[in-house]
Symmetry: C2
Subunit: 189 residues, 2 copies
DNA sequence: GTCTATACACCGATAGAC
DNA sequence: GTCTATCGGTGTATAGAC
């Protein structure tokens, strides 16, 4: 068994429930069945544990998106992947997703290098720019379109989290909400 | 001068910059030119200071919305108020708005009674229900429409915060983005 | 109401044995 | 690699004088 991973998993669960501040390292170690010393053997500081958890999760989410859009070239399909994949991923990994939301809206975000964040944003922005250039997307600032996709994702996630439903219904909501998003940002011919 | 209000103002500024955890009560008191003892004379715990700050700000935002939509009856105008007012309010009160975003995505939110939160949501939900019933809004769950409006607001705020522009341009973006939102949720005849 | 001084709990991190 | 034990620092909150 991988103890480092076990510590990450335990920390994740506790952070989401009690917050970063509300979760002492001693509690993480104890809950994981390990000692404080071991925790600090794997992570030199608490901040490193928190931020590496974020980088970890963000990487997994991005990987899922990349996997989904692999080989795609159509703007619509690409944006669909960037929108739907995180949502389906969130259905299967609610705690991980909650963590990223909490982290992204906390001052911890500043501790993650801008380059690390840009790494996930840049490719999507390139796609959006192409979409605007080609006339597939409305002629508005790609940064704004990016914000709209993000916000829409955020909306649907919030809704799904607060209104439990079976997978079929959830899938339907995600699919329909993508069409709403697409109508909003695409040029209709 | 109202020292309690001064403490609230100082705390607000520091919380947004350093986070709740990163801001000791002693620092708040010192920055406000007061002593720790005085702080705890006005607020019996730090948590009370944090949550009362939230309730305070939320109340002001809601008041601004209510003031804006006073006398309105048309669904479109009402939703426009609920969408635009917070955004314009955020332009003039960026720190306050940042605080609410940070607070809403932290475990502190659980410390605010559900009733307090519902107080701000319920009236808007009533309007949305009426809009769906009347056929002005698309026939989807009002809760979902609510989430969409929220997310859209979140998007535009994020965009405006990251892309500084003059007031005229900002106003234009807010106005145009409302139309995008309206097209998304309204029935087109 | 406001201050100074301080109690005292807690937490992050280290040292050193095994 | 993992543990136990513990240090030093920090932070909330209180006591009591003014």
């Amino acid at each position: 068994m991988d103890k480092k991973q076990h510590l990450l998993d335990t920390a994740l669960k506790l952070f989401v429930e009690f917050g970063f501040h509300g979760t002492p390292t001693a509690k993480i170690a104890k809950e994981a069945g390990l000692s404080s010393g071991t925790l600090f053997y794997f992570f030199s500081t608490k901040d490193e544990l928190v931020t590496s958890l974020y980088v970890d999760i963000k990487g997994k989410m991005t990987a899922a998106i990349m996997d989904d859009i692999e080989g795609e070239t159509s703007i619509k399909k690409l944006i669909e992947g960037y929108f739907k994949t995180p949502l389906f991923w969130a259905l299967n990994n609610p705690i991980e997703f909650s963590f990223t939301v909490q982290f992204s809206n906390s001052p911890y975000l500043n501790q993650v290098a801008a380059k690390e964040i840009d790494l996930h944003i840049a490719p999507f922005l390139t796609i959006l720019k192409r979409g605007v250039k080609e006339g597939t997307l409305k002629n508005i600032d790609p940064q704004l379109i990016f914000a709209l996709v993000r916000g829409h994702t955020f909306s649907i996630h919030q809704y799904l989290a607060e209104n439990p439903a079976d997978l079929e219904k959830q899938s339907k909501i995600i699919a329909e909400s993508f069409l709403m998003l697409w109508e909003m940002i695409a040029v209709h011919s």
